[in-house]
């Protein structure tokens, strides 16, 4: 297992100039034809935030201080994971003309897709920071931990993407199944609600959810201004490293079939 992964990773490193080209192209194409360009990336979380703030803060009356920050800090991270993984289901098909004509390590396409989503995540941190300023939410030194949380989330997204991409190329209805699952998954992750509203007997369901640990790792330094629990950090790290290794391994085993299928 290690041998094939090391070989695959080394090949990706050889093609890193292609990786950067693909990421730059993805980002460029995404913004080229829209008037608002980069602003869209910032507007989307803001609009979502307005909707969710009204629904959850007013209608459900969760008594969370600075609910918008509580929600948004988790939502941008969730959005990154859900966007990149669902893009990945289509990305091999999108690059099909290339895959049929030139040899390129296929993992590059998955990595480029996730990294271009990472650009989005970083851009969407701007409205979050503005909102924190506007609401007088304190900035703490532990914000320096945020990049670590982002790295963990990136590895996790890569792992999920690798697993999905290999399957989706064979069965295209997996895309719809996954998108439905994503919605359920989002509501099973304490993003819009605090974990203490979950009844005791269902708490294990939340705790078994890797996205809970990953979201908390990211949210704690931003919202509470504290380091996340060591146990939570370890759990999210274990999930993301494990899934990245497993997902990539599975992907590399299926990779030979890809050129026949696209």
């Amino acid at each position: 297992m290690n041998g094939s992964l090391v070989r695959a990773a080394r090949e990706v490193a050889q093609y890193r100039s292609l990786l950067w080209t693909l990421v730059a192209r993805d980002v460029k194409v995404r913004y080229k034809r829209s008037v608002l360009g980069v602003l869209w990336t910032m507007l989307n979380p803001l609009l979502m935030m307005i909707v969710f703030s009204i629904v959850f803060a007013r209608v459900f009356r969760f008594s969370i201080e600075h609910f918008t920050i509580y929600f948004l800090s988790a939502y941008v991270l969730w959005n990154f994971m859900s966007q990149t993984t669902s893009w990945s289901t289509a990305c091999l098909l999108a690059y099909a003309p290339l895959i049929r004509k030139v040899y390129v390590p296929k993992a590059i396409f998955i990595i480029a897709t996730v990294l271009s989503g990472l650009v989005n995540l970083v851009v969407s941190l701007v409205p979050l920071a503005l909102l924190m300023l506007f609401l007088d939410h304190p900035f703490h030194g532990v914000l320096l931990f945020v990049p670590v949380a982002i790295v963990i989330a990136t590895m996790f997204s890569l792992g999920v993407s690798f697993l999905l991409a290999g399957v989706c190329i064979e069965f295209n209805d997996v895309v719809q199944i996954y998108n439905a699952l994503l919605l359920a998954w989002m509501y099973l992750t304490p993003i819009v609600y605090p974990i203490d509203v979950v009844p005791e007997q269902f708490r294990w369901l939340i705790l078994a959810n890797p996205m809970y640990a990953i979201v908390e790792t990211f949210r704690a330094p931003i919202y509470q201004g504290v380091m996340p629990d060591l146990s939570i950090v370890m759990r999210s790290l274990a999930w993301s490293v494990g899934l990245l290794g497993f997902g990539w391994f599975v992907f590399e085993r299926r990779v030979d079939r890809i050129a026949y299928l696209v």
Binding site: T21, K28, K101, F171, D256
Partner: protein, 251 residues
């Protein structure tokens, strides 16, 4: 290298269908052999043409050599930088400018941005694109795309060049330039593997030809002999297929 692989004939596109068929035990795996027991050894600096009719497996063979397709059984070993030109314009993005596409294509061939920047002027000059290099690729004519593709592929100093029917595009002047460049490569000891329907070009460029029919090698030898045999075979078959409709006498 010895190559043999099979392509699944029938594809089940959805998981739902897969599950249903699996439950009904209706999963069939019919396979289609595009290439069977092909074994070739091409020496360094050799120019080899692959000839045969449509659907004989010529392009598949090139794709296997280019590592685009992995053989089901057997393996391919190549030594040196391999540059495939399986289809002109492969790996180009119509939304990007010609300039951006040069770097994208270079990256696809595993070249760094820095290297491509150094070669950039030569590439544009060879492709005769001039100021059009900054226009989006979707505005280019087929010939322009072809010239740019050829210019990039041959500018990265290939050691093995795979060409699939790509020399027939472009105007006469550009074709002349391509042939000149290929001649220079041949003197430098670049290995060529070329697929072409133009037997005249095969005889001019390659000393050796491999004739493929139905995924198998029929003959392999000096171009003059093999192309002549191939021509005789094709024309012989055409005349033996005379319509026999005249035999059907109306009642």
């Amino acid at each position: 290298m010895s190559v043999r692989y099979t392509v699944p004939h029938q594809r089940i596109p959805t998981l739902k269908e897969f599950a249903i068929r699996w439950l009904r035990r209706q999963l069939e795996w019919r396979e289609f052999c595009a290439l069977t027991d092909v074994s070739l050894r091409v020496a360094h600096g050799e120019a080899v043409a692959i000839i045969g009719r449509n659907g004989a497996g010529k392009t598949t063979l090139l794709k296997v050599i280019a590592r685009v397709l992995r053989p089901g059984t057997g393996s391919v070993t190549t030594h040196g930088r391999l540059v495939p030109l399986l289809e002109l314009g492969a790996g180009f993005d119509p939304e990007l400018s010609g300039r951006e596409n040069v770097f994208l294509n270079g990256a696809l061939l595993g070249q760094s941005h820095k290297y491509m920047a150094k070669r950039f002027d030569d590439i544009v000059e060879f492709a005769e694109l001039g100021e059009f290099i900054d226009a989006p690729l979707r505005t280019y004519s087929t010939g322009m795309v072809a010239r740019l593709g050829f210019a990039i592929a041959t500018d990265v100093e290939p050691e093995i060049l795979l060409l699939d029917e790509v020399l027939s595009v472009g105007d006469v002047g550009f074709q002349q330039k391509c042939v000149e460049r290929m001649d220079r490569f041949r003197r430098q000891g670049v290995t060529f593997i070329l697929v072409s329907h133009s037997l005249a070009m095969v005889r001019e460029l390659c000393q050796r030809s491999v004739w493929i029919e139905g995924g198998r090698v029929v003959a392999d030898g000096p171009s003059a002999e093999i192309t002549a045999a191939f021509e005789a075979h094709v024309s012989g078959e055409a005349s033996s297929h005379d319509p026999v409709a005249g035999a059907r006498v109306p009642a």
